[in-house]
Symmetry: D2
Subunit: 101 residues, 4 copies
């Protein structure tokens, strides 16, 4: 089962700059061979369900163990569909086509 | 690693009544031995990381395969912490204690 | 237009205990005359659209100005429907009825 | 108070293709003079708090009244901060700078 997720990992109580944590998670996701696309409120991750969620778990573990984060609040949007395979770019393009009409 | 999640599974294109799908997912989560608590916008699920996310995957699979849902949009809030074990009831109680002051 | 929201306000960089902030927001929401129900990952707020979102803005303002919070990350689920008025309790009850069958 | 939101509007029970609804909401947001950026799971909207949330309300109203949508489930991430003004592009760039190191 393929999945597209929108991943937003928020360490709590670690200061107001979150970019070092997000960069580290992006490295973990990419080294898992997953396609990732950053946006201002999260990261789109596309891949096979088990690989995607194994990488999300690895992000939580890494932040807790290697970066000493005490508390993490993550929000994940998860999309699955059986009618067609659609990449993130195709989802955006289908809206932009309508906007040009 | 223990985790508390807030799970909101939304089948898209299947009519406006979602309760049959949510009931079925609740059965799946409970039969996995996970602690579940329903609220008006989702279900709190508490347990070990792998067991929790295996059950979430099973929900998506069941809806697609057994209930013919074509598209699912799920939102998951995920909380992990290393400083203390805290149940859902304890999280709510800690706020209510402050409200009584 | 009536609305039911699930509000999760997360101050970033203010320590790992969020309950004092959530208690304060709950006081603001209730003093606006809105119906609120706490759960482990947020607060269900029911009311008229403008009143609900005015109160959410007041929460952000209060946390920034009176509690010196520098950065806030809030997640809001918003439900509106035109077919029927349904309270939070009724949403949960409709799932629980199915679970008893 | 300026705000950056990540807006994901999901009409329920209207078929599996959501792009016509998202295109229409994007038109509403842009005609309100707000900066919008589409991504595969939502739209980043930047602007002044009241203008942003007035436009979100207008999206719900338009979908219900003009497009006959019976039920809408929206997820909004809301970011406010008092330490600096930061655009969506700057948020992404600050992570990408770290990834190049």
């Amino acid at each position: 089962m393929n999945v597209m997720i929108d991943l937003c990992i928020v360490p709590i109580g670690e200061g107001t700059s979150l970019s070092p944590y997000i960069a580290q998670c992006t490295r973990i996701l990419r080294s898992s061979g997953l396609k990732t696309t950053l946006h201002p409120f999260g990261t789109i991750v596309e891949g096979e369900w088990d690989a995607v969620f194994a990488a999300v778990k690895q992000c939580h573990s890494y932040l807790h163990v290697a970066m000493d984060v005490v508390r993490i609040n993550t929000t994940i949007k998860v999309g699955t569909r059986t009618d067609k395979a659609q990449t993130g770019e195709e989802k955006v393009a289908s809206v932009e086509r309508l906007l040009k009409k």
